[in-house]
Symmetry: C2
Subunit: 375 residues, 2 copies
């Protein structure tokens, strides 16, 4: 008989209540007393039922499916002791209401990206994506071994939430353009769907960042209401059919170089879990974090070939001069944003210090190697 089956039969829900009686009356037959009755009417197994609310449409490729995989993994690692039911955006609460919903305990887990919560706590942005910031590998290193996770926990603590990285898209694409970008002056007046800090940088370059939900991007681009849009990368962009509405596919995605997805947990609910389940939940997030990047990498590999070979998409690299100028603007925007409150400044300083070292190390490792491979 497997341990988890025994535990199911046991019905931990009544264990505490029954303990005294058993202890008092059956001290001499403690061993027998401790055994479950296999053929007795099965007690209802104690299953912890959790809800995970997400910012993604249910089953959204990569992101929504990543949330599903995470829930499934927690179920399997816990031997069914925790069942996490995943809700797509609007199924239980709206996409941008998940932070509050988990904070107040309406759901136990939330799956999104930290930059959505900048209105609540500006410092959150550093845990999702920063223009000219860290790559996926660097983010993980900063979070797990560079002090980043401790800062993230500090930022979310006041909302009664425990944060965790739960996926990464890798370097995203620069976006779909119906205008050539030959110099930074071509960004002037450019109406581009670009949220967050990237949008701020675009504004500083003279462009007009436009906020649009995913579902409205295609028609806005096709109608000319916007001149350009960023979305994610080949895999998601192909699914949206964006290649049908734009001429050029620019790279690299300087504005989101390693976007970290998150899963935050209601602290009170988490702390009620037995120690082993706490470890299981935390580490399920870490598996999900790695797995989503591996998935995106494989899917982007294939989707890029499809876009180029089957749909004749024209890839364009932003000119060096444009990248240099955008980088300078990005550094300004990010530093100014950080200076707006002490917590943001604290996170920014840790982030920037880590980036400085990572740039030097990756110049002689990842970057140098990737270049050597394509000489």
């Amino acid at each position: 008989m497997k341990r988890r089956e025994i535990v199911k039969v046991l019905g931990l829900g009544v264990a505490a209540a029954g303990l005294a009686a058993c202890t008092e009356e059956k001290k001499t037959v403690a061993a027998d007393c401790a055994q479950p009755a296999a053929s007795a009417a099965p007690e209802k197994p104690e299953t912890i039922e959790w809800k995970m609310v997400t910012t993604w449409p249910k089953n959204f490729p990569g992101l929504g499916t990543g949330a599903n995989d995470l829930a499934d993994l927690i179920d399997k690692m816990s031997g069914g002791r925790i069942k996490v039911k995943v809700y797509g955006a609007k199924e239980l609460v709206g996409a941008l209401e998940i932070f509050d919903a988990v904070s107040r305990g309406t759901a136990e887990m939330g799956h999104g990206a930290a930059y959505y919560w900048k209105g609540k706590t500006r410092a959150a942005q550093f845990f999702a994506a920063v223009p000219f910031g860290l790559t996926a590998q660097e983010m993980n290193s900063w979070l797990y071994h560079g002090g980043g996770m401790e800062l993230w926990e500090e930022v979310y603590a006041e909302f009664g939430l425990i944060p965790g990285a739960a996926g990464n898209t890798g370097v995203q694409m620069g976006g779909w353009f119906n205008r050539e970008i030959n110099g930074v002056e071509d960004l002037k007046g450019l109406k581009m769907r670009m949220p967050g800090l990237g949008g701020e940088v675009l504004k500083r370059a003279g462009g007009t960042p436009v906020l649009l939900p995913g579902g409205e991007i295609f028609t806005s681009l096709q109608s000319g209401a916007i001149d350009a849009t960023e979305w994610v990368g080949p895999y998601n962009d192909l699914a949206f059919g964006l290649y049908k509405a734009a001429k050029y596919y620019y790279y690299p995605g300087w504005h989101e170089p390693g976007t970290t997805l998150e899963c935050f947990i209601n602290k009170e609910a988490f702390e009620k879990l037995p120690a082993d389940l706490q470890v299981i939940v935390r580490n399920a997030l870490r598996v999900a974090n790695q797995d989503m990047l591996a998935d995106f990498t494989a899917k982007n590999n294939e989707a890029l070939q499809q876009l180029v070979n089957e749909h004749g998409v024209e890839l364009r690299q932003f000119p060096d001069d444009v990248l240099k100028q955008i980088r300078a603007l990005s550094d300004e925007v990010v530093a100014e944003e950080a200076a707006k409150d002490p917590m943001s400044q604290k996170v920014f300083e840790s982030f920037v210090k880590f980036r400085e070292q990572a740039i030097k190390w990756h110049a002689v490792s990842e970057q140098s190697y990737l270049n050597a491979r394509t000489l």
Copy 2:
């Protein structure tokens, strides 16, 4: 009372034996019968005791400590149901005997790198490091979402082993040289400590690969017995003091661009585990895989600065022309090696196809972004 404490009190070791009695005698008080006696003399909990043999000296930085972390994680995620005792090289069996030891069940787990087993199965090399092969991010994507893991399982199945990736060093350094490498002709006659396929490439370039265990590298380099050596990266190289024995620190590590460490498991022992513990063990490996890379990245960041700023180490990039020629030789060597048996050829074809796509995708994402950041 926490669930795992209840389970400990229960003493699963006697659960099966005691089951019948409890069922027969106490049907009417099934609920009471099912409760543990908290203050009874604690039964010995059923703990599965496993051994992990490793190719590393006990607690070796990054690699040995990674094995320790993995064992600890399995313990915690399983609520103490599996205890894995880690043995350094030679403590139970020699470093290169671990594959056989786990295969025959002397130990349940082995922690090493797959290229050590090329004498047993040539195809294993593709799961560790291939000259001009995949980076860490690409390896994970190939393994988890590109068919690599299924091939690895096929290769190890005949030895009764289940493989798993359990860490990654990231791109390594090219090595420590007492001779300048200005052209490929400078490799002629070069005596360099370089194992595996990298060594074969060096030989084809006219050099002399030398096999030396870690402990003999420093003195051999200092005495001039060798002209150069590769080891790992700044973190491990600093610990070995190699900067004291060589003039130049070359990059990138074309021969090991994302070395995957492995943890293989005795299949029979694994299959005896209950389903949830199987999932826990497999996913503990995945956490370890990601965590070691994050750890190495952070440690290499710091160690590189120390080497350059405190020890005045001179960093040198291999000239483009050298890299191009070594790449051509690498491709020859790897293809010839693969052609020696059908399984190697099968793995090689999957690997090379994945690399071809990854090069194209990373050219417009990781590579382009890293370059944009240092323009």
